[in-house]
Symmetry: C3
Subunit: 287 residues, 3 copies
C-alpha cells in the first residue's frame, strides 16, 4: 500500500480537518469509551484509498480527543475487514499502473509508517488501550489492523488469513512485526507462506486471538468498561511500559516491509498471482 | 518502591553483615539446595521496608555461599507473598508523605535496580537456578518476585494479580520486563490494565506458571534435586546463556518503570485509587 | 563441536567440490522440493566429523541450486538424529585429546558460526523455507538441527532432549538461541538444566514441534508442495522479513555459546560427566 496516490502531509492535514464529515468510519464516544466502526458494510469493509484515509484519520482524531480512556474497533455488517478491495488488486495487476512502481511511498508525517502501515500502527501510537472485536472476515490488511490492537476478541467462525503471499505480495502493513510478537516464528512463517485461511478458533490456539467468543463486540465493550474504570494515568503508563519492549525495532522492520514488497510488486510472478487469483485459476510461477 | 527510605550503599553493607540475624527470611542449605522461605506468615509475607531489605540481603548472601547449586523460594504460612503491606499503601496515600515524592530512589550498589526491583531481580543475578514454589497469594510485588525466578511451580488455587493499576500505580518491580518475556503482550496488557485476580490454573494457561500442581513446594524440591545432581558448571553456564537473551534491555526497562511510577505517585488519581481502595468504595477518577 | 579438526576454508572449498560424491546426506530435488535425508541409519544418523561436514556441505549445495523452492529435512532409518556420536564423546573424555582444548574453532567462511553451529544455522541462511520431519530420536545436536528448520513436524513418540548438560556441556550448536525463540525461558531452562528426555507429544505442548503427527515426513511433503506452489519470490521475501526479527542477536549468542562450552570442556566435572555417562554410573561432581 505504499503507493496510495497523493498521500502526503498536505493530505494528512486535510484529513484531520475533514474527518468529522467522513462516514467511512463511525466514532461514538461515551463514558470514556470510543466505539470505532468501519462503515463500508457493502464491501465487507474492504480497503480502498478512501478507507485507508478514513481509518488513519480516525486514529488521529482519537489521539486529540479528551476523555477517551479505551477504544473498541469493530466492523459494521458481516465482517471486520476483508482486506484490500479487489479493485485495488486489479490496479496492482495492470502493468501500466503507477501503483505497480514499487515506490516506497510517503511516510506519515513524523512517523515510521506509510499509510497502509499507519492504519494498523496508529492503534499502538494511541496512549490508551485499543480492543479489536473481530467477526466475519479479517483477511490480509484486515488481519493486520486487528493485530495492531492491544487485545483481540474474535468470533470462532471468523475467516482469517495472512493473505498477501497468495497475491504474490508480502504482509507489508506492520504484520510481519506484530505477528512475530504474538505467534511463534514457525507458526507465523507457515501461515504466511501458505496464505491459508484459518478460523477464529484456530486463531485462539495460535495466539492471534486473545479471546475466542461468540460475542466479540459485547465482550470487548465489557472489558473496555472495566479498563475505563481504572485510573487512566496508570493504564496509559502501563501501555507505555509494555510498548517500550513490544515496539522495539518497529521502524526498521516497517522499512524492510516497504522495501521487500517494493521488490515484489510488478514482477512477472506477482502479476501472475494477481491475474490468476482474479481469474480463479491456478497460477504458474517461474523460478 | 523507589522510596524506601535510607536504602543506600551503607545500608547494603550493613545488611550483608547482619543478614544472619534476621528471621524475616529463613535459609536452610542442604545437599546443594538452598531452601529460602519468606517468614512473615502473620502478614501473608507482605512487603514492608524490613521485608524488602531481608529478601535483598538473602539474595546477596546466596551469591556468596559456596556449595549452593539450586535455590527454592517459598512462603511460610498461607501464602507466597500478598504484595505490598497495606501500611505502605497508607503511607503512599498520605499527601504529606515523603514516599509520595516520586523520588526514583537509590540504585542498588553497582546494579540496574532499586530495592523494590532488586528483590525480584536478584534471583536472575544468582548464577544458579532459582525455582519458586507459589501458593495462597502472589499479588503485586509478590507476583513480581515469583516472575523473577527461573521456574515456577504454582498451586491451582493461588490468587495472583498484576495488582498495581488497582492502586493507581504501575508494576515497577521488574514485572513489566519479566511478564513481557513469559506472556504474550495482549495477555500481559489485559492482566495489567484490569488488575484482575486470576488463579494458578489460569497462570498455567497464560504461561506465568511453568507447572500447576497441588504440591508446589514438594515438586520444586524434586526438580531442585534433579538439577543439583547435574554438573554445576554446565548448569550455571546454561543459565548464563539463556539469560544473555532473556535479560537484554533490562536496565532500560527498569529505568522506565522507575520513571513512570514516579509520574503516577502523588497524582490526585493515584491518591484516589489508594484512598478508595482502603475505604473499599469505587474510585472516581479524572481524565 | 568447536574443535572438529581441520575445518577451515580450504576444507570448505573441498567440500563444495566433492559434495555430490558423499552419500552421508542424500538430496533428491523434484518439482521445486529438495528432499534432504541424513543417511547414516546404522548409527541413527549420529554426528561424527564426516557427518558434520556432509550436512554443512548439503546446505551449501542447496544455496546454489536453482529451482529449489522448499527443503524437507529427515533421517533415514529409525531416527532423525541421535546427536553426537559416542566415539566423539570418548574423544572429549580423553584428557590427552586435542578436542578437549576448548579451542573455539574456525568460523565458517564469512559466517557467524563454527561447523557445529553451521549444520543447524545453514537452514536459516537458506532463502527458501526448510521443514524438518522428525521421528525416532532428536537428541542434543540432533534436536538443535531440527530447531534450525523453519517448521517442524514431529512424531509423537520421538525421544527428544536438550542433552548437553548430561555430558557436562552446554547446548552450543545454536540451540540456546533457537530454543529461546520458540519456547518460554522457564521451559527452555528446565529442559536444559535437567537434560530430560521428552516426547514429540510434549514437544508440541512446549512449542518445539509446530505439528505433532503420526506421519511427519508425509505431512512435511504435503506442506512443502503447498508452499512450492506459491510465488517463490513472495515466499523468500516473507522468510527474509520474519528472519530479520527472529535472527537478531544471533552472532553474539553463538559467540557466547562457543565461549561458554570452551570453559566447560576439559574441566574435571565435564570429564566426570562423560566418563560416568559412558560407564552408566551416577556421576559425582565437585562444586
Amino acid at each position: 500500500m505504499q503507493s496510495v496516490p497523493g498521500f502526503d502531509t498536505a493530505v494528512m492535514r486535510c484529513i484531520r480537518q475533514t474527518v468529522r464529515m467522513s462516514d467511512r468510519v463511525l466514532i461514538t464516544i461515551s463514558d470514556g469509551i470510543a466505539d470505532v466502526r468501519f462503515n463500508r458494510a457493502d464491501k465487507r469493509n474492504a480497503l480502498d484509498a478512501e478507507q485507508f484515509l478514513a481509518i488513519a484519520a480516525a486514529g488521529e482524531r482519537l489521539k486529540a480527543e479528551p476523555g477517551v480512556r479505551v477504544v473498541v474497533l469493530s466492523g459494521e455488517g458481516a465482517s471486520f475487514c476483508a482486506g484490500l478491495d479487489l479493485s485495488t488488486m486489479a490496479v496492482i495487476a495492470d502493468p501500466s499502473s503507477a501503483e505497480r512502481s514499487g515506490n516506497p511511498g510517503q511516510l506519515t508525517e513524523g512517523g515510521i509508517t506509510h499509510l497502509g502501515q499507519q492504519i494498523c500502527w496508529v492503534w499502538q501510537e494511541l496512549a490508551v488501550p485499543v480492543i479489536a472485536a473481530v467477526h466475519g472476515h479479517a483477511l490480509g490488511g484486515g488481519l493486520q489492523i486487528a493485530l495492531g490492537a492491544d487485545i483481540r476478541f474474535v468470533h470462532p467462525t471468523t475467516q482469517m488469513s495472512v493473505r498477501e503471499v497468495y497475491w504474490g505480495l508480502v504482509p507489508d502493513m506492520t504484520g510481519t512485526f506484530t505477528l512475530s510478537k504474538l505467534v511463534r516464528t514457525d507458526v507465523a512463517k507457515e501461515l504466511t507462506f501458505t496464505a491459508r485461511v484459518f478460523s477464529g478458533t484456530q486463531a485462539g490456539e495460535y495466539g492471534i486471538a486473545t479471546h475466542v467468543t461468540e460475542t466479540p463486540y459485547d465482550d470487548a465493550m465489557v472489558l473496555a468498561r472495566e479498563i475505563a474504570d481504572r485510573s487512566p494515568g496508570a493504564v496509559r503508563a502501563s501501555k507505555e511500559l509494555f510498548n517500550r519492549m513490544a515496539t522495539e525495532g518497529a521502524a526498521e522492520q516497517f522499512a524492510a516491509e516497504r522495501r521487500l514488497i517494493g521488490e515484489q510488486i510488478g514482477t512477472p510472478n506477482q502479476n501472475e498471482a494477481v491475474v490468476a487469483g482474479l481469474e480463479k485459476r491456478p497460477p504458474v510461477f517461474q523460478d
